[in-house]
Symmetry: C2
Subunit: 305 residues, 2 copies
Amino acid sequence: MRIAVIGAGALGLYYGAMLQRGGHDVRFLLRRDFEVIAGSGLRVTSPRGDFHLDKVRCFRNPKEMGEVDLVLVGLKTFANDALIALVAPLAAASGAAILTLQNGLGNEELLAAAFGADRVLGGVAFLCSNRGAPGTVHHLAQGPIRLGEFCGGLTPRALEIAAAFTSSGVPCEAVADLVKARWEKLVWNIPFNGLCALTGRPTDALLSHPPSRRLIEALMTEVVAGAEAQNLSAPIAGPAFIARMISLTEEMGAYRPSMMIDRLEGRPLELSSIYGIPLERATERGVEMVRVRMLHALLDRGEPG
Amino acid sequence: MRIAVIGAGALGLYYGAMLQRGGHDVRFLLRRDFEVIAGSGLRVTSPRGDFHLDKVRCFRNPKEMGEVDLVLVGLKTFANDALIALVAPLAAASGAAILTLQNGLGNEELLAAAFGADRVLGGVAFLCSNRGAPGTVHHLAQGPIRLGEFCGGLTPRALEIAAAFTSSGVPCEAVADLVKARWEKLVWNIPFNGLCALTGRPTDALLSHPPSRRLIEALMTEVVAGAEAQNLSAPIAGPAFIARMISLTEEMGAYRPSMMIDRLEGRPLELSSIYGIPLERATERGVEMVRVRMLHALLDRGEPG
């Protein structure tokens, strides 16, 4: 499969590298790491074995990336103002499917409005990775990617993309109900991204502090209620799901979510996709996520989100 | 009136200085500022006129302070473990009344359990002051002190103490319902102390940020509901009271509440008296202050409170 990776942060670099190692023709749109990766390749460290890609197809401009079958979007959502312009040349040159693995809600809608709903898929990635020195990405742990059509339903295309990931060593499942997958991911993202960013404490410090742990559970319960109002194909089974999210997080140790790292490094936060739009969607369906709204207000410093 | 000031921070130093200048026999229990104030007196800067007290009665040990008519307690509540031992020698030596102007709830109960409920008065101080160099206190602005008997009702003693303050240039009103006065102060303290400490932003930055302003109003509404459940002598009239609190705060400009300064200077926070005990009192009466509990969890780092 010919794949263009747009937004080559920790997620895009890792998945792109795995897909290339798996035999696919991967092309990276790069900024910060262009010189290093074009010159000496891309290095991945991982508990499952380090590897190095000597030759990596690097581009500075999406117009030069040629025709592809899949556009893989890993851009931070606070940069979504640039999203359409980055994807447009690739979408124009081909009938490529566009898969966004960005955080939160609203990304598929943005792509669908520009390129047509039937071109768009979305997915949630349970991935712990971060960027090291230029040209290096550290992979720490992963759960499966769950991806699905923006228009819903299981399609051959979704299954084919999922198979490309899985056969490249990235477990991936195609799901019929993308909305449900997105909200299930929010059950984790909303408490942990925000609370870790706000307090400067990693996940284990919060979970071992009883008032914070109760707050995490209360936030998760609100998000499940917001999710259940979205006409999901099946209920989430809140208490069991929440208990599983907490126990998975405990296994991750002193994890620093992406939003905490964004704040520590002075970047904007992905507030609109992880908080603003989910709050709107819940309110539209009559669910007030009181603590989620408070967390959003506490995180917001008037930055672009 | 013979007055012992216990806990001579910005509040104790300022009120003690005003009472001494007003002709009262004031004795200060000092630690940090002892040498400087014993040697060269106490300086007060104020928009209402600076002044200097050349001779100040300073003590390091409450046992040496002699017999007094009033013990004025200004200790930070996170130091309440030491409160009874500090007051005990003064309470034993005389029939002194004990007035706590400390923040939040629970202070009168502590004193009442040790010295008898009929000895105890409490008050809320609307005071902007902070300590400068040793021997100097900066007075910025003040509203009236409102004080009352722990056992309730207007007594000659409460009126006499109020008159001592007022005639010394500190507006002071005796009230029959101390519980109401305490909760009304919490309507201000709970949002502003906590949010400013948590975000590191002064009051005006929060009020000019619409999501934070709405959060402040929501927190105040919760505290009013908690207050109304406490068998007050009269309702608080929430919306008008909240609007007045906000507009008074706007007049204060870029104010940094005491808890924000405590956090910036690495001191413990007054969490139990301003959050923990009010939350308990509300819950006992069936009122869940959801956002207040969340703010408490976010502020708590397991310090003594």
